[in-house]
Amino acid sequence: MSKKNYNWQLKSTLRILKEILFWAAGIWLFIYCWNIISARTIWPFVYDGAEQGSKLLMRMFPPNWTYFLDLLRPIWDTITIATLGTLAAILLSLFVAFLAAENTSPHPLLRQLALLIIVISRSVSSLIWAIILVIILGPGVLAGIIAISLRSVGFVSKLLYESIEEIDRKQVEAVEATGASKFSALIYSVVPQVFPSFVGTAVYRWDINIRESTVVGLVGAGGIGLQLNEAILGLKWPDAIIIFMMILSLVLFSELFSAKIRKILI
């Protein structure tokens, strides 16, 4: 009888070999990518970066506190862009999600179309939508609202149609058995089941959109981004720090607010 080896190993030898190969490939890829980036970088600027950065921070002080008053309107616009953009996205995504969910979609072809809309909306970021819309609609808050809603439709629809696909069929059948029409069956059996997750998604997206709407102004689509662009291009750093502080407090506020809403509604 051969002596048995009772040493316990977390992983088999083959698995360890495979992992070493995987890590080697990952590290090789990293070095390869790093070389490409390094070749396109002006290194003296980077070495100088820390000094430039600290000089820049020093130039921000003392902050131009009174600039705060000029920012109230842009902040209001930013919140408007996020809120109305999210609302528009919610309304649109009700249709898109209904078409995209396998169990409610009226036709497989419509379902594919809805899925295509979701993919396109999710892949193109709101800043790019904003660039296109500013060319078409002209600069202003409206372009920002539409850009935010076009970006959000995919996100909200995707989560909504996934939760529609997971509903409990029995409840739908129970409502249908009372003689309810297709539409009332939808309202009384599907909607109550998906409502909590839908509200959660919508509020979460609003929270993300507050962040996104701070930048659409950079390309002219309204909100505080416009002021940020002005301050940086004009090298008005005492103004820029006020803008950064406003963005930070706006985002923190929206995070607290959305956490509270979610607690109340779900």
């Binding site: 790019i128 078409i136 409206l142 009384y188």
Partner: protein
């Protein structure tokens, strides 16, 4: 809600907000807010009509994507975006690990906890483009500014979610391994890492996906990648090239999504 009215039982759907007055006030405020903001929009209808008539040409261009005339710069931009994404995600992962341990309430001392949380809040609050502007000003145009931007915003995301995972680990497993007389490195590899590793890999792959999407926009402010190419196409009103770039981007995002769902399934 069953209400008895003149002997008939009629059923009504329960309302979202139980209190009748509260409900009225909240709905009223919401409607008032929407009406007020609509009035404050200042829509310039003439500009829109002008833009819409002009945009017919743009739409026509959008429908005939032109891959050929700018093919080289598209390939170059995509390559730059992908390299930026990969390098930044690797840096982000490496840096986020200590911050994640620092931000986990159950294992970190209070001062370090608050410091890590502050870093996470700052990193998460600013949109990538805002951070990119800062880095472009500090170290100049090019992909390095993009790498730093994506790294910085990855730190907040990864540390926050990983810290939550560490806070949720099962301490009985840690104690069990401790009871065998394991040293600290052994404790890490056999008790803590196996509990957080699957989620960490999932998050990293997810972040890779997000970073690629973000790499397409930070180019607009000069931080390298396909965004630079895209912005140039928009500036020259070459909507056919822009459309081609967007299609390539969407295709890569889709591939990335397939890849990340494959990885997440595998580690589950």
């Amino acid at each position: 809600m069953l209400t008895e009215s003149s002997g008939n039982y009629s059923w009504q759907r329960p309302h979202l907000i139980k209190n009748k007055n509260k409900r009225a006030i909240i709905y009223l405020l919401a409607v008032a807010y929407i009406i007020f903001t609509f009035i404050s929009l200042k829509i310039d209808s003439q500009r829109i009509i002008l833009g819409l008539s002009r945009s017919q040409k743009y739409f026509a261009d959008f429908l005939r994507p032109d891959f050929i005339s700018r093919w080289n710069s598209i390939v170059d931009g995509i390559l730059e975006s992908l390299t930026m994404t990969y390098v930044a995600t690797v840096f982000g992962i490496i840096i986020s690990i200590p911050f994640a341990f620092g931000a986990a309430e159950n294992i970190s001392p209070k001062p370090i906890y608050y410091l890590s949380r502050a870093v996470i809040v700052i990193s998460r609050s600013f949109q990538e483009v805002v951070i990119a502007i800062f880095f472009v000003v500090v170290i100049g145009f090019g992909p390095m500014a993009g790498v730093l931007t994506l790294t910085f915003s990855s730190i907040g995301f990864l540390s926050k979610l990983l810290a939550e995972e560490i806070e949720d680990i099962d301490w009985t497993q840690v104690e069990a391994v401790k009871a065998t007389g394991a040293s600290w490195p052994q404790l890490m590899t056999y008790a803590i890492l196996p509990q957080i590793l699957p989620r960490f890999i999932g998050l990293s792959v997810y972040r890779l996906d997000i970073n690629f999407r973000a790499s397409a926009v930070i180019g607009v402010v000069g931080a390298g990648g396909i965004g630079t190419t895209l912005n140039a196409a928009f500036d020259r009103y070459e909507f056919d090239s822009a459309s081609a770039i967007l299609i390539v981007m969407i295709a890569i995002v889709l591939l990335g999504e397939l890849f990340s769902s494959f990885i997440r399934k595998k580690i589950k």
